[in-house]
């Protein structure tokens, strides 16, 4: 819309009332601050709503401009200082913890933090953090390699690539940041300087801000995980490990501070995130636990074993999945006893057995798409022992389990959106969706086996865990050392 207004084409935007803050922010940042918009109703029937707003809609493109709308010009240049506060540490702690009333939430919202106390980012502490990288403090965070654009072709034009050197914009406010400003957030999160290359790779990945609604997390693969003491074993999703926790927290502080995100004001984010990961999510692969036949995540993503890589993931969509107690799993594999053995029909037959057949029951009952399947080393080895010589073969096996008839797939919630109203091509057949028979089998577990990600991590308890899946965009951490 902004580009149309700049091109001399009058426009009117129909949005919801709670999106006004985001629209105002976008309009200002992109240069047409008086953009006209109006509201559709969230509850009223569509037929009634159109009757209600149609006059206002035409008014938006025909009503002559006001003086205020006509007299806009000049350069918008917000006043932002490098030094935010001067005073004692005690006063600084209080300053950074300030919160503002959020009209939409009806509750205070932290202005510079995630709501928890922070480490005050003094010049001295930030300078120490900067020793964790060779990059200059005033360098604008930018892409270190070309990456593909993830959007519909009709929406992005002809160039499907974002190019190396492109400054990273943090959504929802499209800010940019220097290496020093990322260091400020890393200090506030409690990071150590040796963690800083990982934090900078997260910054290159737009800090997980996505389109502004957040929800992204990060998986680290490669030697740096062990170098900086990341937890990839017992309790890796829980509290206690300084590297995992503070690096993950830094991403959320960047979302708040670099992205300028305020739910209900600058971004429509109804739930905020999964409560299990709302102070950040950064975990590591257990490279030492990989069966010798399987590649590490870094190698899967096209890098070398000795290279350290950060991959974007979506832990906000955690699922409970098929549940079993560790002892039930052990009973299955040792002697063919217990519930899993009964279900799989291998009672009394010693393992290894294919536990994926148990896991996949009902796996896509309430949510389509791929999964990230976290499993411990022992369970990975069992899969290798029964013939899964690669992670890809596991991913493909799970994917094939997800097939269901078109008539069932059409009842799911997201495909109306994902198939562009069923006007697109179904990938496995190469045919238009609307030409497929009701009984034609399609995958509910993503477009291809690559929608699934297999991750070896965790301690020794025989359980697995899962969340939203797929191979996300990788970023080379070593570029930021």
């Amino acid at each position: 819309m902004i580009e149309l207004e700049k091109a001399g084409i009058p426009t009117i935007l129909i949005d919801f009332f709670d999106q006004d803050g985001f629209v105002d922010s976008e309009a200002q940042v992109l240069g047409v601050p008086k953009l006209r918009y109006m509201h559709a109703h969230r509850i009223m029937k569509g037929t009634e709503d159109v009757e209600r707003f149609i006059d206002e809609m035409f008014d938006g493109i025909t009503r002559p401009l006001t003086d205020e709308e006509r007299q806009v010009g000049g350069m918008w240049r917000p006043d932002e200082s490098r030094i935010l506060f001067e005073g004692s540490l005690e006063d600084a702690e209080e300053f950074y913890m300030q919160a503002e009333m959020n009209a939409y939430q009806g509750a205070p919202y932290a202005r510079y933090t995630d709501g928890l106390p922070i480490v005050v980012p003094t010049e001295e502490r930030v300078e120490a953090m900067l020793k964790g990288t060779s990059h200059a403090p005033n360098e604008i965070i930018n892409l270190q390699a070309d990456i593909p654009v993830r959007a519909a072709p009709e929406a992005i034009g002809n160039d499907p690539t974002i190019h190396k050197g492109e400054p990273i914009r943090y959504m929802p406010t499209r800010r940019v940041a220097t290496v020093e400003q990322v260091a400020v957030n890393a200090v506030m999160a409690g990071c150590k300087p040796e963690y800083f290359p990982v934090v900078l790779a997260i910054a290159e990945a737009s800090a997980g801000t996505g389109d502004g609604r957040n929800g992204q997390g990060f998986i680290v693969s490669g030697p740096i995980a062990r170098e900086i003491g990341m937890n990839f074993g017992f309790g890796l999703l829980g509290p206690g490990n300084p590297a995992n926790i503070t690096i993950g927290r830094a991403s959320k502080l960047m979302w708040r501070n670099l992205g300028g995100a305020v739910p209900g004001i600058t971004v429509t984010s109804n739930w905020g995130d999964n409560p299990a990961v709302n102070t950040g999510f950064c975990i590591a692969e257990y490279a030492g636990g990989l069966p010798k036949e399987w590649m590490g995540l870094n190698e899967e993503l096209g890098y070398k074993k000795e290279e350290s890589v950060l991959m974007v993931t979506h832990p906000g969509s955690f699922g409970i999945g098929q549940h079993f107690m560790p002892g039930v799993y052990r009973a299955l594999q040792k002697d063919g006893h217990g519930a899993m053995a009964r279900y799989l029909g291998v009672k009394g037959v010693p393992g290894p057995h294919n536990w994926l057949d148990y896991l996949c029951v009902g796996l896509w009952a309430d949510r389509e798409g791929g999964i990230t399947l976290m499993m411990i080393a022992e369970m990975a080895q069992h899969l290798v022992d029964i013939g899964f010589k690669t992670k890809e073969s596991v991913a493909e096996y799970i994917w094939k389990k997800s097939f269901e008839p078109v008539k069932e797939y059409r009842m799911r919630g997201a495909p109306d959106f994902a198939t562009n109203g069923w006007r697109s091509i179904e990938r496995t057949s190469g045919k238009p969706w609307l030409e497929l028979d009701d009984d034609y089998m399609v995958p509910s577990g993503g477009d291809s086996p690559r929608a699934n990600l297999i991750l070896v991590c965790g301690g020794d308890e025989e359980t697995c865990h899962r969340f939203g899946g797929g191979h996300g965009q990788p970023y080379l951490i070593d570029n930021w050392r």
């Binding site: 009117i12 240069g31 559709a40 918008w76 240049r77 005050v120 003094t122 009709e154 501070n257 198939t419």
Partner: protein, 92 residues
């Protein structure tokens, strides 16, 4: 004795300066104009809206593009030259 005074840094990044533009001049009437209707998602409103506009405003030349996604389908440069106004429905 006064305590040490620390300089503490700003974590909020940089908002890049942006040239500000006024709105485009509005059209004086819709009759005889080419109006671009760009629809994203939410068919309960947009199906009704599209039908009503086409049926009840035949004097307008409607250029309609739609997607169930959140990124609007873009007009070509040639289409932009022929369009007099645009309505964008983002109700996803």
């Amino acid at each position: 004795m006064a305590g040490k005074i620390y300089k503490c840094l700003n974590p909020t990044g940089i908002q890049m300066p942006a040239q500000q533009f006024p709105l485009a001049e509005r059209i004086d009437k819709i009759d005889g104009k080419t109006i671009h209707l760009n629809i994203c998602g939410e068919p309960d409103i947009t199906i009704r809206l599209e039908r009503k506009l086409v049926a009840e405003y035949p004097q307008v030349n409607w250029l309609i593009k739609k997607t169930n996604g959140i990124d609007p389908v873009r007009m070509s440069e040639e289409e932009k030259k022929t369009v007099d106004a645009a309505i964008l429905g983002v109700c996803w």
